[in-house]
């Protein structure tokens, strides 16, 4: 589906660090990602692996002490990391928009849902209040909020969790962005509501042709919704592939370990889980060589010293950052 689509967002060799000049801790190291129109790119990884921060930094909304140290973020020919704050602000929302994990803290409790959507619209578009209000009602209808004419004046606490997340999605798509980044959009929601919200995102992507970046830790959601997947570990991408390739032929031991560690609804009951030994590494003291080496089941003597690089393992865009990727077999 993606052969003819053009690349919308292209992150090239992005590195991000926290701290001052004297002591810098790298948080993201040399991450390259791109999304095409109408495509869903899933980003998976554990907490602290940098999956959210990569996109916050790309949009210039990372915390103040976090700086981009190298690389570029290309969107329609502009490098977002070089734009001044005003230019960047104009692109957020219209070009790239984001939906956050916790719908309750992302909404302001003292303004009605309608007011918050109207604020977004009028900040970017020359609209009167009445026009913006009409558009807000339209948007709420689009995300399947029942009775939007009445609910537009409700406050966040009057909405259920699923409805709040939908209101946030309405806000994020208000300016018809070309790329929508959904950061764990359903982690706070029940499984039945989760299914509804993700169907809504897929449907919006189909209708508008926007690209969807789905940041999640749930491999089941990835299997259902993603076209391509990037796996993050300790601030870098360790594997990147089409969803079929990644699930059927993983080429990084971390990806294989992730699959083994989750209980599945369709696996035979009583299958023992194989946890990943140890803890994710401290980013301030990353081991030399492969960051996953201390926890890896395939580890070889030179893994602790030789620098790893994301290499193409085939001619069809299956990248792996393991020296020994041909030896990675999911069955073993």
């Amino acid at each position: 589906m993606s052969n003819a689509s053009k690349i919308l967002l292209d992150i090239r060799h992005l590195s991000v660090a926290v701290g001052d000049v004297q002591s810098k801790t790298p948080l993201i190291r040399d991450v390259s990602l791109h999304v095409k129109a109408r495509e869903t790119l899933a980003i998976v990884g554990e907490s602290g692996s940098g999956k959210t921060l990569s996109f916050l930094a790309a949009l210039g909304i990372a915390p103040n002490n976090v700086k981009v140290t190298a690389g570029e973020v290309l969107f329609e020919g502009d490098d977002l990391t070089k734009l001044n704050p005003n230019e960047l602000r104009a692109r957020r929302g219209t070009a790239i928009s984001m939906v956050f994990q916790d719908p309750l803290s992302a909404l302001n409790p003292v303004f009605s849902i309608g007011t918050q959507i109207i604020e977004v619209l009028r900040a970017h578009l020359p609209m009167t209040h009445a026009q913006a209000r009409a558009r807000a009602i339209e948007l709420l209808e689009r995300v399947h909020i029942p009775d939007p004419h009445r609910r537009v004046d409700d406050y966040p606490h009057q909405f259920s969790g699923g409805m709040r997340q939908r209101a946030l999605i309405a806000m994020a798509i208000a300016l018809e962005p070309k790329v929508l980044i959904a950061d764990e959009p359903t982690t706070a929601l029940d499984v039945t509501v989760q299914a509804q919200v993700l169907e809504l995102l897929s449907q919006l992507r189909e209708e508008t042709g926007m690209a969807l970046v789905l940041i999640t830790h749930d491999l089941g959601l990835v299997a259902r919704h993603a076209d391509r997947v990037a796996v993050f570990y300790a601030g870098s991408v360790v594997e990147q592939a089409g969803v079929q390739d990644l699930f059927h032929e993983p080429r990084h031991p971390y990806t294989v370990s992730l699959f083994r560690t989750i209980p599945r609804l369709d696996s035979p009951a009583n299958t023992a889980l194989t946890p990943i030994v140890g803890q994710p590494p401290n980013l301030a003291q990353l081991p030399e060589g492969c960051p996953f080496a201390p926890r890896c089941y395939l580890v070889k003597p030179d893994c602790g010293s030789a620098q790893v690089k994301l290499v193409d393992t085939t001619n069809k865009e299956h990248l792996s950052a393991c020296h020994y990727w041909p030896e990675v077999h999911p069955e073993s």
């Binding site: 554990e46 699930f247 209980p263 023992a272």
Partner: protein
Amino acid sequence: MTHPAHTPLLELKNICKTFNDTTSWRGRSSKGVQAVANATLSLYPNETLGLVGETGSGKSTLGRIALRLIAPSSGTVMFEGQDITHLPARLMREKRQRMQMVFQDPYGSLDPRMSVDKLVSEPLSVHDVSYAERQEKMQAALRQVGLDPSLAHRYPHEFSGGQRQRIGIARAMVLDPTLLVLDEPVSALDVSIQAQVLNLLHEIQVRTQVSYLFIAHDLSVVRHISHRVAVMYLGRIVEIGTRDAIYTRPKHPYTVSLLSAVPIPDPDLERTRKRIPLIGEIGSANNTPNGCRFHPRCPRAREMAQQPSIAKQKIGSIEIPIICTTQDPALVGSEQEHACACHFPHQTF
């Protein structure tokens, strides 16, 4: 998994709990929130019973009633064959040595100003154990959960989320309980750490024969760890049975929909699976629907209303069988094997 003719360790009989149902001195009464409605279940020694349901289904409330941290509005709590529903606090304290709880949030549930040895031995000092014995038991409990006792002088902030959850488990296990209520013990943890804790819980059960009441919303995790499973919806147990009965032959339309909504990490399978979407969202416990409390969202009720032989009622634009809107279905069947509270339990979609 086979329970011989044991007596149950824990029995909850017809438990109801309504919060804030008050009558003021002027005689004004408020109806309150019905969190648990007529729930009956039993838990046997060395068994894990999974309790699943959406937010607001009353699963945590039921777990707390089992430990009598909350008193039920009506119904009976039996522990080790004794009715503890109205047991005075002094006697209850003696019972609590054998009934403990593990909480969801490994950050909020440990006092940041207490070191690990204090945290883990605190339950022992409450129950008047001598210092030497306390130290010994504390170290044994830490070893049991895979933590090095030489780290016992450290404080919670020095540990990762998974390690903190181990401390929470050690704190609960140090009194050698026979019943552990675990309220979402792994949902705050990353998947790789989650598996470590699940395996640990399994090991502890094999070693100590402790029974788990395992409350969670993740159906894959519950399937992995439970012998039996109870599904709750708006305060009511709508289906209960052995793990295989619930997961391979679910009868209640709510269970069927829940299971169909859980994504499976396999792209081929996942994209061809049929979802049975629920209509709307979980109702409010403030205002439970009449009849079967699931009928406003039930796909099966709509299906059944198509059949000419069934008397039905029009609600808005949809038709629902009258029996679903007027009669609250009872849980029919054996709680040990498979029981379901639905008027049409044998229909398939």
